[in-house]
């Protein structure tokens, strides 16, 4: 546990010492917000000021939180983990007297928290400049821990997903698929209320909504603390999945050989 906490600190400092990469990512996020501000302004104006209960202010704050929570994780993390597993590089990590997946999660969490803080700070300014303050201060306050939980859920799910590489020879490109599941079923591109009812019900029942929709729905002014409880529940499940997959995968390497 102490090692994991120390790892979070180390990796957070590492992220801060790579200002170029951090700046590129945050500026990319700012570009996305500019695009979505234009898109949703035009869309709400064409629909009498509101779509599915969202006006332009709540939609832009929705996008700010959803994109911020997702962009804080490395987009190709599944590919990197898959490569480490398939190349055998992970074997050296198994020699350490600590959980492989635990330390990996801690390292990613440290970097991701720095990116999340920077993204939300910049995103908050951009959204404020375009549409003014968040629709509800209370909901916005809940959106911050929800964004952190969203990040943790996403990291745990990516590790569980990437663990397939213990059995498949090349599972690296599957990050594309995972990313699209978060984009569409996670509510990152569109609020789930915009989806056809059956699809929205399916999306709400899946863990991807905990990674984007939950903080975004709160940031858009809907005070719904139950979303945080849902996220916490999914986090426990996803962490257990990631730990289980890695435990089984490591056992397989020990038996079959890397």
């Amino acid at each position: 546990m102490t090692a994991a906490v120390a790892q979070v600190g180390f990796s957070a400092r590492r992220a801060l010492h790579q200002p170029g990469e951090l700046a590129v990512r945050v500026l990319f996020y700012a570009f996305i917000l500019v695009v979505f501000a234009a898109l949703w302004s035009a869309a709400t104006r064409a629909n009498g000021g509101s779509i599915a209960g969202y006006d332009v202010r709540s939609l832009l704050w929705y996008v700010t939180a959803a994109e911020g929570a997702v962009i804080a994780t490395k987009p190709r993390m599944i590919e990197t983990i898959g490569w480490d597993i398939s190349s055998g590089a992970i074997v050296t990590e198994m020699l350490r007297p600590a959980s492989v997946v635990g330390l990996r999660l801690a390292a990613e969490l440290g970097e991701a928290l720095v990116r999340l803080a920077c993204a939300l700070a910049v995103g908050g300014v951009v959204a404020w400049l375009y549409v003014g303050p968040p629709p509800s201060a209370a909901a916005a306050a809940l959106a911050v821990p929800a964004a952190v939980l969203a990040l943790c859920c996403n990291l745990a799910a990516q590790h569980a997903f990437a663990g397939a590489a213990f059995w498949l020879r090349d599972a690296r490109s599957t990050w594309f698929l995972y990313q699209k599941l978060v984009f569409l079923l996670g509510g990152m591109l569109l609020p789930l209320e915009f989806l056809p009812r059956p699809l929205a019900d399916v999306a709400r029942a899946l863990p991807f909504s905990a990674m984007a929709y939950a903080p975004a729905r709160l940031a858009s002014g809907h005070v719904d603390p139950a979303l945080l409880a849902e996220q916490a529940g999914w986090l426990v499940v996803l962490l257990a999945c990631a730990a289980g997959v890695f435990r089984a995968g490591e056992r397989r390497i020990e038996v079959v050989g890397g």
Partner: protein, 256 residues
């Protein structure tokens, strides 16, 4: 020219060596593209037509975008990695060869996943773009001009590393910016942003203008698309060659 073609062929054979991996990556990218199509269908289903754009027209834009990225960045994969190659010493290996270093670097590698885009774009055009011989010809012309603008812009940005040093971060940012802006209908943007998209980040020339040409062709706009392609191609070559005069060495020896 023949050297460039031979290099592309070698790059293809290299990607083709792992056939299962090749098809898997192509397929994954096509699935990725389908997800974007679903997004646009859902968006316009909820929002309705927007400043003259509907599902039909935005799918045409997406067909052009995927063809441009597939052609420009799938076949010339190093275009977006030029800054990284320069900072990593990859340029030194290319300079030692008896061929044009920029042409060699650009044709040295194909991006297998983006070849999925190259397959998907024309298929989407046939499925959703009301293809007629005239529209197909304009589609090819527009996608070609858009690809040249895309590659030219990225090469020019990557070549800035020759002057300014660094690890090519500006090219990364340019790539992300042009891709995101090119993915959305140009008419949703207001005056200043629109000006930005026709100048600093020329995303409008990659998808906006070609889409308008396919929808309603006009000679002045076709000339503008061709002019933009010529301008960005010249800018890329000039920036690279000027930077090369200042370049000494990455002090690293690698394979380009």
């Amino acid at each position: 020219m023949s050297v460039a073609l031979q290099t592309v062929r070698t790059a293809f054979l290299e990607a083709w060596a792992n056939r299962r991996g090749f098809w898997f990556q192509v397929l994954i990218m096509m699935v990725n593209d389908v997800a974007w199509v679903i997004f646009w269908v859902l968006f316009f289903r909820k929002v309705g037509a927007l400043r003259g754009w509907d599902t039909h027209k935005v799918l045409l834009l997406f067909a052009i975008l995927t063809t441009c990225t597939g052609f420009g960045l799938g076949l010339l994969a190093n275009a977006r990695r030029l800054g990284e190659l320069i900072s990593g010493g990859g340029l030194d290996a290319a300079l030692a060869l008896p061929t044009n270093p920029l042409a060699y670097l650009l044709t040295r590698r194909v991006d297998t996943a983006l070849l999925g885009d190259l397959a998907f774009g024309p298929v989407l055009f046939v499925a959703a773009g009301d293809p007629t011989p005239e529209r197909a010809a304009v589609f090819i012309f527009g996608a070609l001009c858009g690809s040249i603008v895309l590659v030219g812009f990225l090469v020019a940005l990557g070549s800035v590393t020759l002057f300014a040093g660094g690890r090519g971060e500006q090219a990364d940012l340019g790539f992300q910016a042009i891709l995101i802006f090119a993915s959305y209908p140009v008419d949703i943007f207001g005056g200043l942003t629109k000006l930005f998209l026709f100048t600093a980040v020329p995303a409008a020339f990659v998808t906006g203008l070609p889409t308008r040409l396919v929808s309603s062709f006009s000679w002045p706009e076709a000339a503008a698309a061709a002019g933009a392609a010529a301008f960005f191609a010249t800018l890329a070559v000039a920036t690279f060659n000027l930077g090369l005069r200042r370049y000494t060495s990455g002090a690293l020896w690698t394979r380009a």
